[in-house]
């Protein structure tokens, strides 16, 4: 018979306001095997933990039930306390009476009753608990960073700085990401390329970093410390080693009519291309959708002009298998498609552009050489209207996002300010719902746009943009003056909401990393573990976790690197003790468990068994690799003969809990 102690936490008023904690402690004190009970304001505090430790020693407890918050919050805390007092940490069970009880109920009587039932189930389980010992697994001391934007670059550089090897997988032909498309950065207005490209060069020259450009993650197996990743290197039809990046092929290619995605389709490139002058790696790539040679077999100009002999039309996708201890997701963002926002006439006029397109038009390396010209007729716009919150902060019924995209207020202020500085004869309007500029030197920046540069900030939204006679008639409301405005603008710039890159969702599935409803990766704890995914060994860097500006992205990228370094610095990791195990006598060798196991932890072996009549027989039985098993329990429910069971969550324990609840 176990000697069980019950500890009921108030969690300040979080639990105690809705649950009668004293009544819970007393009721549970009457359960069989319970020799001690107590309630306390903060069980997780040092004082609270001491109460548990003392009770274990004084009353010679063999098990403990803590009625408190979710085990995800403090299971570890209480297990450590129990171990310090000399009992096996797996003899502690948590009854979650906060998230699953006090927070979701209002009626104190029924909430108290439910808390007692939850506690009773935990007591029933502890009766069947047995001490468990966790094993250990080695750590592969290398990291994978998925995405080569500023987030991925910073994380990779920091990890490499600590002496660990890093691979960056980037789906585009070059690293650099969105930042490489930006002209100037707020609030200091330094040139984005001037601060980004040296970092890109650092990555290329760092001996610890390898770049898999034009590559994608194809499959991920394994677990924290021991991931096995298959990387698909897409055929770029150019030998990366031989190509010198001279760019002659990109000048001679006769296929000139390919929309240039780096300039967001504002101009055209060739079928063989290097995205921009500072690309890393500076290697040409053939666009198979447009290359005449690849499509019809007739051309071959690039091959003829290439002095290095780097062109290879027969190149195929190849796969690389690599092992990593940690994986960093840095997949970034994209502005949303504006097809559904035709009140702004985005699809009806080339002079209605997104803010990212505006960046390219004002960028010295962009399609206009940095001169602000209208895409339709190449004239200087004299009146520009910026519209903020296009697709952001909508209610659930709209076609946009409910969240604030966070970066638009600042970059719009930047665009407005730079326009007024370079072209003082241009009238600039900014329509906003709210101007949100928290951040170091951010509000000062915005106020400069208004006060020093004379940008017209108008509170209110634009209702309609209609292209008429070469102008854009903008109809909007001025909420402060309470009147309707009609502006004949030459250019309309839409601050489109940002959303996670489309590659994030399938990647999350591969990594079994959770996402929110907007496809942003979820962090392990929104406040206390912001750069880790709840899935062990998966880390989050940059906008894949939520909208961020560059300073914040870089800070998070470095924080992420610190967490990865902390993991890679370990030689061994403690495994999960709650692993599956199979009874060889009951196993009938059907392979069902092997098929359902998501981690590949189960294999089969031929084993000799002595029969009662002293003959031997060879049978095929399941065997679990405890270092790989994550304890998900899929195999235990799938096993038709009841041979598979899970330590810490055995069938008997779970049935005992159900019985206690239904009593």
């Amino acid at each position: 018979m176990q000697r069980i102690g019950v500890f009921v936490c108030w969690c300040g008023s979080n639990i105690a306001a809705t649950v009668d904690v004293k009544a819970v402690a007393e009721a549970l004190g009457k359960e069989p095997g319970v020799v001690y009970f107590e309630d306390y304001q903060y069980m997780c505090s040092e004082e609270g933990q001491n109460k548990i430790k003392n009770a274990i020693r004084d009353y010679k407890l063999t098990g403990a039930v803590i009625c408190s918050c979710s085990p995800r919050m403090h299971e570890n805390t209480f297990r450590k306390a129990a171990a310090a007092a000399g009992i096996n940490s797996f003899m502690v069970e948590i009854a979650n009476i906060r998230e699953q009880c006090s927070w979701i109920h209002k009626d104190k009587v029924s909430a108290t009753e439910k808390a007692i039932i939850l506690g009773r189930a935990a007591i029933a389980k502890v009766h069947l608990n047995a001490p468990l010992t966790a094993g250990e697994s080695p750590v592969v001391k290398r990291a994978l960073v998925i995405g080569g934007g500023i987030a991925g670059i910073q994380t990779a550089l920091d990890i490499a700085d600590a002496g660990f090897e890093v691979d960056i997988v980037e789906k585009k032909p070059t690293i650099g990401g969105k930042m490489s498309q930006i002209d100037k950065t707020f609030p200091t207005l330094d040139c984005a390329a001037c601060i980004l490209t040296p970092k890109m060069v650092d990555v290329a020259q760092n001996e610890k970093i390898r770049i898999f450009s034009y590559s994608e993650v194809d499959a991920v197996k394994g677990f924290v410390g021991n991931f096995k990743v298959s990387i698909r290197r897409k055929a770029r039809f150019v030998d990366e080693v031989k190509c010198t990046g001279c760019g002659l092929c990109t000048e001679k290619c006769p296929q000139k009519k390919v929309p240039n995605e780096f300039n967001l389709g504002l101009d055209q490139r060739r079928a063989i291309y290097i995205p921009f002058a500072q690309a890393v790696p500076k290697v040409a790539t053939i666009d198979a959708d447009y290359c005449t040679m690849l499509k019809t077999g007739k051309c071959g100009v690039c091959s003829k002009v290439c002095a290095a002999g780097a062109i290879d039309y027969k190149q195929k996708d190849t796969f690389v298998e690599e092992e990593y201890g940690a994986i960093v997701v840095a997949t970034g963002f994209n502005p949303i498609e504006l097809k559904k926002y035709d009140e702004f006439a985005y699809s009806q006029s080339p002079d209605v552009i997104t803010s990212l397109e505006f960046e390219r038009i004002t960028n010295a390396a962009g399609p206009t050489g940095g001169t602000l010209l209208r895409p339709s007729d190449g004239t200087h716009p004299k009146k520009i209207v910026f519209v903020q919150c296009v697709g952001s902060r909508e209610d659930g019924g709209g076609c946009g996002k409910t969240y604030c995209s966070k970066i638009c207020c600042m970059y719009t202020a930047k665009h407005a300010m730079l326009t007024r500085e370079k072209y003082p004869d241009t009238e600039v309007y900014v329509f906003y719902i709210d101007v949100r500029t928290p951040g170091k030197s951010f509000d000062e920046f915005y106020r400069r746009a208004v006060e020093e540069y004379g940008v017209h900030y108008v509170k209110g939204m634009v209702g309609k943009v209609s292209p008429e006679n070469g102008k854009l008639m903008v109809r909007a409301s001025d909420l402060i003056e309470g009147k309707q405005l009609n502006i004949d603008a030459d250019l309309v710039v839409l601050a489109a909401a940002i959303e996670p890159d489309q590659s994030a969702r399938p990647l999350a599935t591969m990594l079994t990393a959770s996402m929110d409803t907007n496809d942003f990766f979820t962090e392990a704890h929104p406040k206390l573990r912001p750069v880790e995914s709840p899935t062990a060994g998966i880390f989050l860097s940059g906008c894949c976790q939520g909208p961020k500006d560059i300073p914040e992205t870089v800070a998070q990228a470095s924080a992420c690197a610190a967490k990865v370094i902390g993991l890679l610095a370990k030689d061994k990791l403690t495994c999960n003790a709650c692993v599956a195990h199979s009874s060889e006598m009951l196993c009938n060798g059907c392979s069902t468990c092997e098929k359902v196991c998501p981690y590949g932890a189960i294999s089969y072996e031929e084993k000799e068994f002595r029969m009662p009549d002293r003959t031997t027989r060879v049978r095929r039985v399941a065997s679990v690799n405890p270092a790989v098993c994550q304890g998900c329990g899929a195999c235990t429910v799938a096993c038709p003969s009841g041979a598979m069971d899970l330590h810490g969550f055995s069938n008997r324990q779970i049935m005992a809990e159900v019985d206690a609840i239904c009593k």
């Binding site: 559904k340 035709d342 006439a345 309609k464 209609s466 292209p467 008429e468 006679n469």
Partner: protein, 258 residues
């Protein structure tokens, strides 16, 4: 092809020609329109209120008749179309309204929005097909520059009407092109004409409607078509000389039914 037909009051009074020509065009296109027996007024703008029940009943009755007949209901009037679709959407999605309406009407089988509503234009696009119309045109309207006027009721609320892109629609332009004419797209084609404000303050409807016709004229339209009797009224009354006719007039003419 057989459909249930819901004409609505205006088509029996002010807009008799719209009704007559819609029926004749449908016949010429091989569509049989069966007028729903004992249909009642859709309720005009009143059923759209969230807390209304009584005024929704006649629309639900029409939808139930269609459900029993097993074919969609077709309407020509933009307002009837708007009321029927929105009421049907309420019956599909709003538990309170569904429950109260069913307790009022006490049908043998409770109605939960199973019927389908089509505007005449939707029927032309999705059931008949603009390609078929193109083939059946006897007098192509070649050389005529026609602006489509959608107004609000056909398009909004966008998700409930599911008619076309509310900000950049194309169904009426495709219709005009199918008849051999040139469709003129102009910015104000989906703006409001002023609607029922005509009863209270004609100056407002005049302002709104002339802005629409001015926009159409600037874009080069020589005539404007609409599906809505109220839009037609407001546009014709606003003082602009640009001709405004029902879309069925064009179809009637192009099919050679004159």
């Amino acid at each position: 092809m057989v459909f249930q037909y819901y004409p609505g009051c205006t088509l029996k009074t002010r807009a008799k020609e719209l009704d007559r020509k819609a029926r004749l065009c449908a016949e010429a296109l091989g569509v049989q329109l069966e007028e729903i027996k004992d249909w009642q007024c859709c309720g005009g703008c009143y059923p759209v209120a969230k807390d209304e029940i009584a005024t929704k009943l006649s629309a639900v009755r029409a939808m139930m008749a269609a459900k029993d007949a097993g074919t969609p209901v077709v309407t020509v009037c933009s307002a009837c179309h708007n009321v029927l679709k929105r009421t049907n959407h309420d019956m599909q999605t709003d538990e309170v309204i569904r429950d109260r309406v069913n307790r009022y009407l006490k049908p043998d089988v409770p109605y939960a929005g199973e019927g389908e509503v089509l505007h005449f234009l939707e029927m032309l696009r999705d059931k008949v097909g603009f390609d078929t119309i193109r083939e059946k045109v006897k007098n192509p309207l070649t050389g005529r520059k026609i602006g489509a006027y959608y107004g609000c009721l056909l398009l909004r609320p966008g998700k409930v009407m599911a008619f076309d892109d509310p900000e950049n629609p194309s169904i009426m332009e495709d219709f005009i092109t199918a008849l051999g004419a040139e469709a003129v797209r102009y910015p104000y084609r989906n703006e409001c004409c002023g609607a029922y404000l005509a009863l209270e303050d004609q100056a407002i409807t005049k302002k709104k409607s002339s802005a629409v016709l001015h926009s159409a004229k600037c874009a080069g339209a020589q005539e404007v078509i609409t599906a809505c009797p109220l839009c037609l009224y407001n546009l014709q009354k606003c003082g602009d000389d640009l001709p405004v006719v029902y879309f069925t007039e064009l179809l009637f003419e192009a099919l050679g039914l004159e």
